[in-house]
């Protein structure tokens, strides 16, 4: 971390660039919704107007908020996210038309709420460094969030996983928020304990092994993810939490030995899970023998979903069937787990690659904010948070394309689901704050006039006011001198 050279970008607030890109991104989002409305068989659907209005309104409010409170934030992040979110809503709306559902309205509501939460985060936090002060609070909050679904009466089992809580008509996945609080804890803990972990330990060959007692938190994280796996039967979140910790400790120390130890732990846990946990074994089986008719037709945990998704992708081909022209509704859970397959069918490889590129750009901007960040906490936080988005995309797209076993994670910003949207928009707000801090002009060396001008209008204005005051006082003194010439004769 300290070895990496500081990367400098020109300290220019690039909000106008952001505005131009944002308008393009909104054109993409509204265009997608318009195309879906056009393809409605019951005549033209007016839904895209409200969808476009909500998305555009909230995006512009967020843009203005950035102009006020995070002037130097990265200009690329917001347009990427808005485009992804808009395409997601369009696809969910399109699947609603096929399935006679109303998931798009719920998604739109959650989008508005999530963006409001992001704006609130920007406003409340301002400087991400205040979050570093109480890492253990975030650990406690994470543990509480993860335990909530296990409370009888509150939690409920859906699709074999106990990760939901129900309060009246509202449902929520607290584990989604836990990934943020866990990232905050890891970043706070590792930024203060980094030196200890880094310096102590024995060296065996090229590997520097950490001390047993420094392994403590690692083992806690491992147990936590195993606990999530066993108690809640949620393979996806368990992979996400462990991956997050492994990456953050690697970023903090730069030691490859942590990755090796972590991977060994994953292999051991994965082996036992496959042996003793029926749903993990089912997932593995439907991955290895996806095209086997007996696996395909299985009542529970069969491969029908994945195989239908693959057929959809192949039906889409290079250019896709066009929004509203394919049959993505054949795929079970097409609007949440399998939304990538639905998009691949209707937008084709060309559209899907564009979507993946949007994710890649978003994640690279997050990592860029981490590289430029001047404090260890910000570096770790931005790296960890952007990695969670990347890992989620990889696990999900890998599952849909049969590269790895499919697990129940959501596609960030696209899948139908409020908790995922909410937490991902908060992540975006945190990334924007870290990037604002890392791109802000640094004050180093002795103070001079140019620094004052660059430090912001209020400082230079104050300095100018002070100068003017001085000048006025000097002028007054000079006047006073002129007005009352020394009177020689008085005393004499």
């Amino acid at each position: 971390m300290s070895e990496t050279p500081e990367l400098e970008t020109a300290p220019i607030p690039r909000r106008n660039t952001e505005l131009v890109l944002l308008i393009l991104a909104l054109a993409v989002a509204v265009g997608a919704n318009y195309l879906v409305s056009l393809s409605n068989t019951d005549g033209f659907d007016e839904g895209f107007i409200t969808q476009g209005a909500v998305l555009a309104g909230m995006a512009l409010v967020m843009h203005i908020v950035l102009r006020i409170w995070a002037k130097y934030a990265d200009p690329i992040i917001l347009p990427c996210v808005v485009a992804l979110n808009g395409i997601g809503i369009a696809m969910i709306h399109r699947l609603d038309l096929a399935n006679n559902d109303d998931a798009a309205t719920r998604q739109l509501l959650w989008t508005g709420l999530a963006m409001a939460a992001a704006i609130a985060t920007l406003w409340l936090v301002r400087d991400h460094r205040i979050l570093r002060k109480a890492p253990y609070t975030f650990l406690v909050i994470s543990a509480l969030l993860l335990l909530l679904p296990l409370v009888p009466g509150l939690g409920k089992v859906i699709n074999g996983a106990r990760i939901w809580i129900f309060i009246g008509p509202l449902s929520f996945q607290p584990g989604e928020l836990a990934k943020i609080t866990l990232a905050l804890f890891f970043a706070g803990y590792l930024s203060t304990h980094r030196d200890l972990i880094l310096l102590a330990g024995r060296k065996i060959g090229p590997l520097q092994l950490p001390r047993a007692r420094d392994l403590g938190p690692m083992i806690v994280a491992w147990l936590l993810s195993i606990g999530v796996l066993v108690m809640q039967s949620d393979l996806g979140s368990s992979i996400l939490f462990f991956g997050l910790f492994m990456v953050m400790i690697y970023v903090a120390t730069g030691r490859i030995s942590w990755i090796i130890i972590g991977l060994v732990m994953v292999v051991v846990a994965g082996f036992f899970a496959a042996q003793f946990m029926s749903h993990v074994a089912l997932r593995l089986n439907s991955w290895l023998h996806a095209f086997d008719p007996s696996v395909y037709d299985q009542q529970y945990g069969g491969s029908r979903q994945i195989v239908q998704g693959l057929f959809g992708l192949s039906n889409g081909g290079l250019f896709g069937t066009g929004l509203g022209n394919g049959r993505p509704d054949f795929v079970p859970l097409a609007n949440s787990d399998m939304i990538i397959a639905a998009l691949g069918e209707e937008l084709g490889l060309i559209g899907l690659v564009a979507i993946i590129l949007l994710f890649v750009i978003l994640i690279s901007r997050g990592i860029r904010a981490a590289l430029g960040s001047r404090d260890a906490f910000g570096k770790l936080l931005a790296a960890g948070l952007s990695f969670t988005i990347g890992l989620q995309c990889f696990v999900l797209m890998g599952g849909v394309t049969l590269l790895i076993p499919l697990t129940g994670l959501t596609t960030p910003f696209m899948s139908a689901g409020g908790s995922s949207l909410l937490s991902n928009w908060i992540i975006v707000a945190l990334l924007l704050l870290v990037s604002h801090n890392s791109r802000r002009p640094a004050l180093t060396g002795p103070l001079n006039e140019r620094d004052m001008a660059a430090a912001g209008p209020d400082i230079s204005a104050k300095a100018k006011a002070r100068e003017e005051e001085d000048a006025r006082r000097r002028a007054k003194k000079a006047q006073a001198k002129v007005a009352t010439p020394p009177r020689k004769g008085d005393t004499a």
């Binding site: 690039r14 054109a27 250019f319 750009i361 002009p441 180093t444 002795p446």
Partner: protein, 160 residues
Amino acid sequence: MSDLFLTALRLGFLILLWILIMSIIAALRRDLSIGKRAKTGEPTAREVRKNPELAPEPAPPAKKAARTLAILEGPLSGTSLDLAASPILLGRAQEATLVLEDDYASGRHARLFPQGSRWFIEDLGSTNGTYLGENQLTRAQPVEIGQPIRIGKTVMELRP
């Protein structure tokens, strides 16, 4: 609405998606350019001709070099320390060059170091802060001869 028109719209959407990606990449390319202020080293003559504000500031008039650090107030009042060309650590810790017996000073409180012909003072993250004149230090600042430096109850100044 004809099918041809719909197909054209759908292709148009894909093109729009890629226009967005290309504009983002164009914006990224500009983003990677190094800012002029971030550059280190002296600007070249050509750069100065293009941007007059880059011209190096005229060298300050030669001043007498500081030779001693005199303590004016506080427990060590009246003593003074000869300055060599090496940095000086101020604080309560035993390894400090000037050990301040001041309850309001931190172990490693501040550092006084020469750079060129001037001395700079830098706060080392002390609890109660270091004051130069009336202002609390937020980063390294040059110290003029006769300008009071305050750490806790100790006040000192540079003397020629």
